[in-house]
Amino acid sequence: MITEKGLWNRLRLRLLFTGPTLFAFLAVMIVPFLYGIYLTFTNWDGISTTSSFVGVQNYFSVFQDTVFWKSFLLTLKYVFITVVLINAVAFLLAYVLTSGLKGQSLFRAGFFIPNLVGGIVLGFVWQFIFSNVFVFLGKELSIPLFSGSWLADPDKAFWAMIIVTVWQYAGYMMVIYVAGLMNVPKDILEAASIDGANLTTKLRKMVLPLMVPSFIVCIFLSLQRGFMVYDLNISLTKGGPFKSTEMVSMHVYEKAFLSRDYGVGQAEAFVLFLLVAIITIAQVYFSKKLEVEA
């Protein structure tokens, strides 16, 4: 029916259904994005009524901003460790919780709950745990590891962030892995058992290859969330002690709104966007090649 009509009729029908969403998407994503790119060529400070055009000078500033690149490297390190840990923990949880354990749905719900708590609240809860509960326990039971607040030491504060991130996202990724594991056809596993394959062989040769789509999604999600981490960063460590755990998003935000260097901050955000886009697209592209059919 649709093909019989002219162009205008088809367009009208499409606009009816996609128009509102398209408008919202354009208004809150595309227009600000393009306007943001325009701002990178100006020296606007966020409030003044005038600003002048400065060309690509802001981009030069980005490449000269050593703190930006330092926090980018720190973020890379953070992303690498969290992606590995989140997915390892999530897969293990999913594997255990699909093996027919008693009360496994309860456990699944339990592990998923941290993900329902917002990053800011979570950060404050863990801040209390790290700087009060652990210190108290450390003093009572004289455990040297917990004698001082983890958040007061640059390395430990970094690991505190990783622990909280893994705790928060492992449950979410677990749900995706559970779905993936349940979709592995039972008949081929049964056939493999009859052929005498043991548990590890089945896991390595059949389950893991068939789970590649789940891994792609989970790694993509954890990569992207890792790079964009901000709420946890600000509520758990505030980038401290002395800026040693300041992730790149936080640096960009502070550049724009604290140092009031809107142009440079925007330019850094754009550079960050490009870098993250390249990394995640490459990840999806290359891991798609690993997909197999049952």
Partner: protein, 435 residues
């Protein structure tokens, strides 16, 4: 078929109308109400007086039934500048915006010139100097705040064995003597709260402000610092201030893990008398009073920068007008602007307004005609220093990211992760990077 087409057309036009209505709304939001009733808004960036301001708004409405004042708080963790610029960007600025002193200049094209207001004549000296550009003053000085070492009188009295004389602490050596006495009395001498804003916006700037009693010379010093002409390594005020800081770090109750403390711990240990001294400002009184065990007996000591009692800064307390009110002229109507001006006058000249400022909000007003005595001991202590002329202007026009950047460097120094030469280098590098 025909019906279906009609439905499509109807749905499309509905969407268009909705969008037009949604977009059109923002333009009209400035004109609230008609006739004589007028609603004005105040963006409050002093979170601790939110409820007091709301009560003041009620009292103000009692005197001026036509004017409704709404108080909008700046969310915790957001700076007044961020919130105010976001409101401007959305075309919906508050009628009255409470800004930090250093931010006023950025807003000067968008806010009213207040030079002709009645209260200008009663404002204390120099209180409007920093918000005056090209001979026009753009802001109402709301509160004077001061900071230094807050002492718990019960603890220091016990330590010195008698009545403690704050005037005796006028050198670094005298301060150390006091620390030792407190320590000998079985209490911890002091707590250093490691927040970056406390170290970066309050402590270190004493090194700039202490350069000279003449504000112009201090301004010149900052300018030279920016130009890279100042060698801090050989600057005596700067080194003297850090010598005092070394002492503070040495006698700090949290010496074992200096960065793990939070702001909340400060008022607790000072109020309970576990320490004798806390480096903080008069805004901390509401929190201290919650733990008070010294029956409200607290006061300020200046931060000494040398061993010569006559040096500037050793007997002066750092204070300045820290919060300013500006009135929007872009989106608010003439009636709203007049109403806002009326509110400013009401605070300065009406009994209820003065009562709000001094008694309810514990503010030290910047107006000579207000003679009410401060209720809280910290405000009283600052007022006494001001009355004796023993004040040093706090640095209130530092670059916006100074507190965060220098605060981080100071934390590093406090934790022993960096020595003085590294700190000095970082401070000088920072100033060179300021545009």
């Amino acid at each position: 078929m025909k019906f279906w087409k009609w439905m499509q057309a109807l749905a499309l036009s509905l969407i268009v109308v909705m969008l037009a209505a949604a977009c059109g709304n923002s333009g009209a939001s400035g004109e609230t109400g008609g006739g004589s009733a007028v609603t004005i808004t105040l963006l409050n960036s002093k979170g601790e007086i939110q409820s007091q301001l709301e009560e003041a708004a009620k009292a103000f409405k009692g005197d001026n039934p036509d004017i409704t004042l709404e108080i909008i708080p700046v969310p915790a963790g957001q700076s007044p500048f961020e919130k105010a610029s976001a409101l401007y960007a959305s075309g919906n600025p508050a009628t009255i915006t409470m800004l930090d002193t250093g931010d006023v200049e950025k807003f000067k094209d968008r806010v009213l010139d207040l030079s002709g207001e009645k209260w200008m004549a009663d404002a204390v000296d120099r209180s409007t100097a920093l918000t005056t550009f090209d001979g026009k003053n753009y802001a109402f000085p709301l509160a004077i705040e001061g900071y230094g070492f807050i002492y718990n009188k019960a603890v220091v009295d016990q330590a010195v064995g008698g009545t403690f004389d704050p005037a005796a602490i006028n050198t670094t050596a005298a301060l150390e003597e006091l620390f030792k006495k407190i320590e000998a009395s079985g209490k911890a001498p002091l707590i250093v709260s490691p927040m970056d804003w406390s170290l970066g916006a309050h402590y270190l700037p004493l090194a700039y402000a202490g350069q000279s009693a003449d504000p112009a010379a201090v301004a010149q010093f900052v300018k030279d610092l920016k130009a890279g002409k100042i060698e801090l390594t050989s600057n005596s005020v700067y080194n003297g201030l850090l010598d005092t800081f070394d002492l503070m770090a040495k006698y700090n109750i949290d010496k074992a893990s200096p960065l793990s403390g939070t702001y909340e711990r400060g008022p607790e240990v000072l109020g309970k008398g576990e320490v004798g001294i806390w480096f903080q400002g008069n805004w901390a009184w509401p929190q201290i009073s919650g733990f008070d065990t010294a029956s409200g007996q607290y006061g300020f000591l200046p931060v000494p920068v040398s061993n010569n009692a006559d040096d500037f800064g050793n007997t002066q307390i750092s204070s300045a007008v820290s919060k300013r009110l500006v009135l929007d002229k872009e989106k608010n109507t003439a009636e709203q602007q007049t109403a806002a001006k009326k509110f400013l006058e009401w605070m300065v000249y009406s009994d209820k307004g003065q009562d709000f400022l001094v008694n309810k909000a514990n503010i030290i007003p910047a107006f000579k005609n207000i003679t009410l005595e401060a209720q809280d001991p910290l405000a009283k202590s600052i007022t006494d220093y001001i009355a004796e002329g023993k004040t040093q202007d706090s640095m209130s026009t530092l670059p916006a990211d100074h507190w965060a950047k220098i605060g981080a460097s100071m934390q590093k120094y406090l934790a022993g992760e960096a020595d003085r030469s590294v700190l000095t280098k970082e401070i000088q590098e920072y100033w060179k990077s300021v545009k």
